[in-house]
């Protein structure tokens, strides 16, 4: 196996780990729930995306690679919608639907 995919994997996963760290720092430092929510979801979805990207270079075959992408898409779409739901629930006078 050549060195190039390994390097790309390491770079992408390091970047992904950085975004997870950024999300956690945002969570620890931001004062109100809505901005914490924002920091958390943006950073984590990017973090997972970069981790998936890094692992794609290591995937053996098309099917495992597709599964990785599918997992990321699932988390991304579900996460975005749930963020809306949480923001809705966090509003002090949010109607209960």
């Amino acid at each position: 196996m050549s060195l190039a995919p390994h390097t790309l994997t390491i770079l992408a996963i390091l970047a992904g780990a950085f975004f997870f760290m950024a999300g956690t720092i945002g969570l620890l430092r931001f004062p109100d729930p809505l901005s914490r929510l924002h920091a958390l979801t943006k950073a984590d979805n990017l973090g997972l995306g970069l981790v998936v990207l890094g692992l794609l270079f290591q995937a053996e075959g098309l099917l495992p690679a597709l599964k990785l992408v599918a997992i990321w898409l699932l988390v991304l779409l579900a996460g975005a919608t749930i963020t809306q739901l949480i923001a809705h629930a966090a509003r002090p006078n949010g109607s209960a639907g």
Partner: protein, 89 residues
């Protein structure tokens, strides 16, 4: 390479754990619902890394199930928070 992936999985887990401390303390329910979000994303990432690092491809399936069920639990959280609001009125 495997050691690097395992280390990355450990790092992501450690970050999730740090975030959990903040979240579990609350004060609001919204903060606690975020715990499911954080665990879903971070746990999935850790499992995918673990699958590659330890050559257990099935761990990716566990990650998939985790992502799905984390979304399910988040919806249950939101429904719960809404319901207690209605009860409180």
């Amino acid at each position: 390479m495997d050691d690097f992936l395992l280390g990355a999985a450990g790092f992501v887990l450690a970050m999730v754990a740090l975030g959990l401390v903040r979240i579990l303390r609350g004060p609001g329910d919204a903060d606690r619902i975020m715990a499911a979000q954080l665990l879903g994303t971070g746990g999935t990432a850790a499992l995918l890394l673990l699958a590659q690092a330890t050559s257990v491809p099935a761990a990716a399936d566990v990650g998939l199930v985790l992502a799905l069920l984390a979304a399910f639990v988040s919806v249950a959280f939101v429904k719960g928070a809404e319901r207690s609001k209605v009860d409180g009125k």
